[in-house]
């Protein structure tokens, strides 16, 4: 009797433990599956970028013949030009857009002026119009200004940054979490509004500044629509997305599929490295600001 009494709770305890172990191993299995599914396409791209024997799409993954031919071939196309275009526009956009977004979000988070609420509502409504529509006119205006096609880069940068003030939500959400009493203390201590921004808010906003730079950089880096409008069929004005998109057209794919993979690898590497280094800030930005909106 007494033995039974002792073991009964023990047994239940063991049951709990084994059921948790089974649950956990199921989750592990799931996570491994997910990781594989998420990584397979990228592994495939890398592998196929080294394929030499056939340049079109094939039904197998591992190349029969390895080599750097595709990478070499890239440099005989306009790819270096596209790459430079993309890099310059992404870099400049990242800097300017960050400044604009931070100005806007800081203002909307910290100042209480009469037009604040109407302004925010107005921008919300503006955002409901498909942005693509504006490209029809912007293209013609920029064309008149000589900022399209071969000279697409400045025009593109202008288009990217011009309306970036409307993307203030995430960083405003972050600024809202910094106590207002810090601003007030600094102002009582003798700081102007500008000094408050420079000496108090910005040093405390490192995650969101980096997040903003990162997203502002990644936008132009992978943009297709705007670049497609602005470069309008002129190869030297294209960015990588527009240029490489054509390689997968029906008439080109048989000859340039592997080249697309090689180009893809080259395009993906810098952002991926950048991203993994700054992952912490990105996650903070997304989780901190994105939802609060």
């Amino acid at each position: 009797m007494s033995e039974k009494n002792v073991t009964a709770p023990m047994k239940r305890h063991m049951g709990l433990r084994t059921s948790r172990a089974i649950g956990n191993s199921l989750i592990y299995a799931l996570l491994i599956c997910i990781s594989i599914i998420w990584l397979v396409p990228f592994v495939c791209i890398v592998l196929q970028s080294f394929r030499v024997e056939l340049k079109g799409p094939v039904g197998y993954v591992i190349p029969k013949q390895w080599g750097f031919d595709n990478y070499v071939a890239l440099f005989q196309t306009d790819f270096p030009r596209w790459y430079t275009n993309t890099f310059i526009s992404a870099l400049v956009t990242a800097m300017l857009q960050t400044i604009i977004v931070l100005c806007m979000s800081y203002t909307l988070s910290r100042f209480r002026f009469k037009m604040r609420k109407p302004l925010m509502r107005f921008m919300l409504i503006l955002g409901m119009f498909p942005g693509m529509l504006t490209m029809i006119i912007l293209y013609r205006v920029l064309k008149d200004l000589g900022m399209t096609q071969a000279n697409a880069v400045p025009g593109l940068i202008l288009v990217y940054i011009a309306s970036s003030g409307m993307g203030y939500y995430v960083s405003k959400g972050f600024f809202d979490t910094i106590p207002k009493s810090l601003d007030e203390a600094a102002r009582v201590d003798g700081a102007t509004r500008f000094q408050v921004l420079k000496k108090i808010i910005l040093p405390l906003s490192k995650p969101i500044v980096i997040y903003t730079i990162l997203t502002a950089f990644m936008g132009p880096w992978g943009d297709y629509v705007f670049a497609q409008y602005i470069s309008f069929g002129t190869s030297s004005g294209m960015n990588v997305a527009v240029g490489m998109y054509r390689w997968l057209n029906k008439d080109q794919i048989a000859n340039s599929y592997t080249m697309f993979c090689a180009g893809g690898v080259l395009v993906a590497i810098p952002v991926t490295v950048l991203f993994l280094c700054l992952q912490k800030y990105y996650v903070e930005g997304v989780t901190g600001g994105a939802v609060k909106g």
Binding site: S181, E184, A186, R187, D189
Partner: protein, 373 residues
Amino acid sequence: MASVKLTDVKKIYDNKVVAVHDFNLEIADKEFVVFVGPSGCGKSTTLRMIAGLEDISDGIVEIDGTVVNDLQPKDRDIAMVFQNYALYPHMTVYDNIAFSLRLQKMPEDQVYEKVTNAAEILGITEYLTRKPRALSGGQRQRVAIGRAMVRNAKVFLMDEPLSNLDAKLRNQMRAEIILLRQKLDTTFIYVTHDQTEAMTLGDRIVIMRDGIIEQVGTPTEVFEMPRNIFVAEFIGAPKMNMIQTQLVREWDRYFVTPFGTRMEVTGEKKEELLAKGVRGGEIMLGVRPEHMVLTENDGIPCTLEVNEMMGSELHLHVYTQDETRLIVRIPTINLTLDQRKALTYGKGLQVSFESKVMHFFDKETGMNLIYGG
């Protein structure tokens, strides 16, 4: 080191909510004034208007004779301590305290001297290189005070500086603020919701409710001569007992009739009532819990509900025959152990009080019949 004068100051928010009604107050140089009141009474808003952190909807705020309505906080020469300390998290304690001095472009050696000097007074020298994150609540509070101290500002504003501290630390810091005040010798405006702080710190107390000043006076004045029921109940703990009763005037004699008993008002109070020419009628009779005593006979009969043993004193919650709740505060030392043991739930008691502790309030307006108006 300056006077502060508020004339008809008003705060109206965008949604037409009036936070502060015509606020008139003159604060003398080197005076310590406490704004006290329940939350939402407009005391912080008033302070923030003096600081320049809130726009002044109407009226005039003067510091040292200059109108500061349109001045930015930085141009008003004030120092302020915030409720949540508002320390700059990315700066060390030293940099926090030095922040305002550096904005004034003071040479670094003077900054060093001032900061270390302040730190020594506040006993935080060993934490100067730490970040606020690594400090306890009390230490953060000291840093916040230090930051305000080094400014040598004309006016020292404190917005509920102790309310984030635990009870023990609060008492300690309260004493230190008194010491600090003696050292700094400047004008203080202090906001709190805690009447004990107000009573112990203030030269003068401004009691506010719903954006209106209920009474301005020294601690003694507001305690002994409350203008109305609100002030009477707000100052003092536990709060003053209010008994609905009749004040009867017979020639030049006054009687009150709480709970069917009949007591004559004598002495000073009677003279004062006579001097004011009070007629009598329905009143609220206020008696502080500590002024009530237990008697064997001739008192008001009531039943004990709760007996709170506070250590040095007992708080007896009793109710009378018509279900009025009263609190009686009795020094523990006045009762024997047996007497105390007998004070259990349901015990019948009799309480009474003298004329000189009575406060008479108009039942309709709540104004003190003697000191009100």
